[in-house]
């Protein structure tokens, strides 16, 4: 009887701790035991987003049986509502079609350029493995039915060769595409292909445990998920792949990397899907390490972003919620798209300006996340609290806004009033922990208007002051920065295997997508390639 059979048969008269000689609490060991598997497959994947679906197909293509568990009621994850931008190179079929000459070496060189401020903290072992699989992965997407907008690709990410192609929205049916985004063309096509090839997808299943021989040693045996309060134990004969999508929605987890990222910061991709860090935390519970953690606070990329669509809860620049989306009742509003911050002033929860609103750098974001109090330490100690864009009827006319639902969400994220003091009194939001003092806001607006008269902003150096905030009615719109990328995650190697804190492979555990760390590349090119790698390697694993 080998160890796995021993465990599987439930013959656990002796604690696993004693067997393995690992000093852990007995309670932990008891919790680790699985005496009966409800389901089994060669490869079991947590997460049916872009990464998990690529992994599922890649594993299935090698003959492995595959079960995917997904927390959401539908597949797709954040990729469903993404822009579908997939800059992969190395000589893809579409690059060749447009006469673009590229190589894996050039992909590697471009993404390891020490002058690239966004990517230079990446693990070059991972970048090398990724570069080698660029072209094959792009062609894999084509082979699995993903359709691209076939126009000459463009340069992105500091690259020297045109690589950016975008997927086409899957259909014009919002029930299918969720928000009409090009990313739907990626994940719906992959879903169709995966299902046709025999991948089983279990929706509304929450990953609750990764089962390993011993709490911090041995091989990973499978996972536990819950569905409608029922526990499902799923055995993975060859491997478990964590493709759960990152941690950005988990306040406690994201604050490990940047303590300023407190609860008021909303997340791009929500309310469609949440990045809850389940995969990372459960893998860490069996010994997995994190990797590339400095990328979260490198002040490059899109960890924290300036809100572009104000007056609604979710204002990420490239995701404007469509009132026809089935998710719109939860999104609450599309937001007013700001073409120029020249038309607003931004104030904190005390009604004070704090920075040059025209600044699009991390300088502005750091100011938002900085200490905001009333001079008597009455503010939050961590996090900057809500940021409100204040503007008048003149701004509405210049920007051609219609400040009414469904463009704005008056349920806590947008307010209007006849006067500035009245506006301050109306602001009520779960994160506005104390009323905004009307006198403060009136004084702030009066001071700003005097600066406009003078043509200079001595407080924050905002250039070219053009417009006062003076013409009624007045508006306050939620403009707090919104979070996007999880640029750190589980430590993986070039084969997608998860490593522990000693740098040893955790046999049978793989990671991909935003829940894998070490490569600070935004978006789909990273998650598709490593999803495919993890699926392939898990399917090939020897047990």
């Amino acid at each position: 009887m080998n160890r796995r059979t021993f465990l599987k048969d439930g013959a656990l008269g002796v604690g696993a701790t004693a067997l393995a000689g690992v000093a852990v609490q007995d309670g932990d060991v008891a919790a680790q035991r699985v005496t009966r598997w409800d389901r089994a497959a060669d490869v079991v994947i947590a997460g049916a987003g872009a990464s998990g679906l690529c992994a599922a197909i890649a594993a299935r293509d090698l003959g492995a049986s595959v079960i995917v568990v997904e927390q959401n009621h539908d597949i797709g994850g954040h990729a469903m509502v993404s822009g579908g931008r997939i800059p992969l190179g190395g000589g893809t079929r579409l690059q060749k079609k447009f006469g673009v000459v590229d190589s894996a070496d050039q992909v590697y060189l471009d993404h390891t350029n020490p002058g690239n401020l966004e990517l230079r903290f990446s693990d070059r072992d991972l970048v090398r493995a990724w570069a080698e699989e660029n072209a094959a992965t792009f062609d894999f997407l084509l082979d699995n039915g993903v359709r691209f907008d076939e126009v000459m690709p463009t340069l992105v990410n500091g690259g020297t060769v045109p690589r950016l192609f975008r997927t086409l929205p899957y259909s014009d049916n919002l029930k299918e595409t969720i928000n009409g985004s090009p990313g739907s063309g990626l994940v719906r096509a992959l879903e169709k292909s995966a299902r046709a090839k025999g991948v089983e997808i279990l929706l509304r299943h929450n990953l609750t445990r990764i089962v390993r021989d011993n709490p911090t040693s041995g091989r990973v045996q499978g996972m536990t998920a819950t569905f409608e309060n029922k526990v499902l134990n799923v055995e993975a004969r060859r491997g478990v792949i964590i493709a759960t999508g990152g941690f950005t929605s988990n306040v406690a987890f994201r604050r490990m990397f940047d303590p300023r990222l407190t609860e008021e910061y909303q997340v791009a991709g929500e309310p469609w899907s949440r990045q809850t860090a389940d995969g990372e935390m459960l893998a860490m519970a069996i010994g997995a390490a994190l990797w590339g953690t400095s990328n979260v606070a490198s002040e490059r990329g899109r960890t924290v972003t300036k809100t572009r669509h104000i007056g609604a809860r979710y204002g990420y620049e490239n995701l404007r919620w469509n009132p026809g989306s089935p998710m719109f009742p939860l999104a609450g509003g599309s937001g007013l798209t700001v073409r120029s911050y020249q038309d607003v002033i931004c104030v904190n929860q005390f009604g004070a300006r704090f920075w040059n609103e025209l600044d699009d750098t991390y300088g502005f974001l750091n100011a938002c996340l900085g200490r905001h109090d009333d001079g008597r330490q009455n503010g939050k100690l961590n996090g900057g609290g809500p940021i409100w864009a204040i503007f008048d009827a003149g701004a509405v006319a210049r920007e051609k806004w219609d400040p009414r639902p469904p463009n704005v969400d008056p349920n806590g994220w947008f307010f209007s009033a006849d006067t500035i003091p009245e506006l301050a009194r109306r602001i009520a939001n779960p994160y506005q922990v104390q009323p905004m003092p009307p006198r403060n806001l009136e004084q702030t607006v009066g001071t700003f208007n005097a600066h406009v008269d003078a043509g200079k902003d001595p407080d924050f150096g905002r250039p070219g002051l053009m417009f006062k905030v003076e013409k009624p009615p007045f508006h306050a719109a939620w403009a707090t920065p919104i979070l996007h990328d999880a640029l750190a995650g589980l430590r993986i190697n070039g084969r997608g295997e998860v490593l522990d804190m000693r740098g040893q492979v955790i046999a049978g555990l793989y990671g991909a997508g935003e829940s894998a760390g070490g490569f600070a590349l935004h978006g789909l090119p990273r998650v598709t390639v490593f999803g495919r790698i993890a699926g392939r390697e898990a399917a090939r694993a020897r047990t």
Partner: protein, 204 residues
């Protein structure tokens, strides 16, 4: 006799707008002032008084019978005021007092820039860089003076002689600024460049 319950007055507040800035020292100017009650009360007839820094009344009037468009209940009036005699930065205090006791009073402070009488006309002609197409709706600053271009891309500003920072901006275009010296009527031609727009639409 039963004790009468005290009723807290409704707290009204003010908005002041459309004071053409800068004003010419010693001349008349106009502004709009409005008052609003959070309970939506009719504030028709509310008295508005405008005072300068010394406490001298420089203008005022009474609010009219209709709320300002798109507001809930902002009763307003266009008021005539006397600009300060000397140039420089000033602050006016705008005071509202309702004719009855239900409403309290309110005060707002508004900044006022007074300048010497203009001497020269500056004509600014703005076109789009590359295409040469005249641009309407370009916001201009010549020092503290402001104007916007018309359909022909032209704007006229009358200023005293001096050196000014000239600034031009339109939504969708990069901000342009330069220093200019005005000693006679003059025409300045500007070309502004389109600002880069996001390379993808906002997915909906």
């Amino acid at each position: 006799m039963p004790e009468r319950e005290a009723i807290a007055p409704h707290e009204i507040s003010l908005a002041v707008w459309d004071l053409a800035s800068p004003v010419v020292a010693g001349r008349r100017a106009t502004l709009k002032a409005g008052a609003s009650c959070p309970s939506g009360c009719d504030l028709t007839g509310t008295r508005i008084d405008i005072y300068d820094e010394s406490g001298a009344r420089v203008g005022g009037g009474r609010l009219g019978p209709a709320p300002w468009p798109e507001t809930a209940a902002l009763y307003w009036a266009e008021l005539d005021v006397a600009a300060p005699e000397g140039d420089g930065d000033h602050a006016w205090s705008v005071h509202a007092s309702a004719p009855e006791t239900l409403h309290g009073s309110a005060t707002a402070v508004v900044s006022v820039v007074a300048v010497s009488p203009p001497e020269f006309r500056v004509t600014v002609e703005v076109s789009e860089q590359g295409s040469g197409v005249p641009l309407a709706g370009v916001e201009l600053r010549v020092g503290r003076f402001r104007a916007a271009t018309d359909e022909q891309g032209h704007a006229r500003v009358e200023v005293p002689g001096g050196t000014y920072e000239l600034c031009a901006w339109k939504l969708g275009y990069a901000m342009l600024s330069r220093t200019t010296h005005v000693a006679a009527d003059t025409t300045i031609r500007l070309e502004v460049a389109a600002a880069s727009e996001p390379d993808q639409p906002y997915w909906m």
